[in-house]
């Protein structure tokens, strides 16, 4: 189906292997968001300034980025630190608390960067489709390598 293929391509293009870290460890939420930021930088999506912006956003607005049990969508607003729309993926062996009243602790941090308000909607739609499926999410969290995760993502979003 053409629609499914496009969705799969959108995720594939947004998340490169260099932006994925599985079985990572972080001492706290700042450390976890820093890993997500470093992974965006490694994939050529953002400059290091964006990492600081993501942390500042949580300091300012609170842990609202923890949008589902165990899952944080770390991001800031469009800025010069964003080079292109993209994602990073950090799955943590030991979950860390973000201070969220109902969704703590977090075992998966997805970093998101977008250069404007519209250019990443296809990626978000693909992500929403995969992440609203509990069984799919459990398989993704258990991925053993970045390549394994990419393969799973393309299977699940196809």
């Amino acid at each position: 189906m053409p629609e499914a293929a496009e969705t799969s391509n959108a995720l594939d293009a947004a998340l490169s292997e260099s932006s994925i870290s599985v079985a990572a460890s972080a001492p706290d939420w700042r450390g976890a968001v820093t890993l997500a930021g470093d992974a965006l930088v490694a994939g050529g999506v953002t400059t290091a300034a964006y990492t600081a912006e993501m942390i500042a956003a949580i300091d300012e607005l609170g842990p609202y980025v923890v949008i589902a049990p165990g899952l944080a969508l770390a991001h800031s607003r469009p800025s010069p630190a964003v080079l292109r729309a993209g994602l990073s993926w950090i799955s943590l062996t030991e979950p860390v608390p973000f201070g969220h009243p109902s969704n703590d602790p977090v075992s998966l941090v997805i970093g998101l960067a977008a250069p404007d308000h519209d250019g990443h909607l296809e990626v978000m739609s693909a992500l929403a489709g995969v992440l609203s499926d509990d069984a799919a999410l459990a398989r993704l969290k258990a991925a053993s390598s970045p390549a394994d995760l990419k393969t799973l993502l393309s299977q699940l979003s196809a």
């Binding site: 956003a57 300012e60 607005l61 609170g62 842990p63 609202y64 980025v65 949008i67 589902a68 049990p69 899952l71 969508l73 991001h75 800031s76 607003r77 469009p78 009243p101 109902s102 969704n103 998101l112 977008a114 308000h117 990443h120 909607l121 978000m124 739609s125 992500l127 929403a128 992440l131 609203s132």
Partner: protein, 90 residues
């Protein structure tokens, strides 16, 4: 009917919430216009809205408005969104 999904930056969580809300509305057969907003413009955008969807953190900042404010805990849980929207729509 107008529904506004509110988050901090307007690019991430509110966009996901908008997409999942549209899915729920389709399955309920309800015709509504869903817009994503960041907290800075939320009050203005909510002026002519009937429902505002957001996370708990932003409720105090949104303050007193005419629209019904609904807190969503799990943005990927279509059942939670369905249940809470149904109550608001009744």
């Amino acid at each position: 009917m107008k529904i506004v999904a509110v988050c901090g930056m307007g690019i991430g969580t509110s966009v996901l919430l908008k997409m999942n809300t549209e899915k729920v509305l389709r399955s309920l057969g309800v015709d509504a216009d869903v817009e994503a907003a960041d907290i800075g413009v939320a009050r203005g955008m909510a002026r002519d809205a009937q429902i505002v969807l957001t996370s708990e953190e932003f409720v105090p900042e949104i303050g007193e408005i005419d629209a019904e404010v609904i807190v969503i805990n799990n943005f990927f849980d279509l059942d939670e969104i369905t249940e809470k929207l149904k109550i608001a729509l009744d």
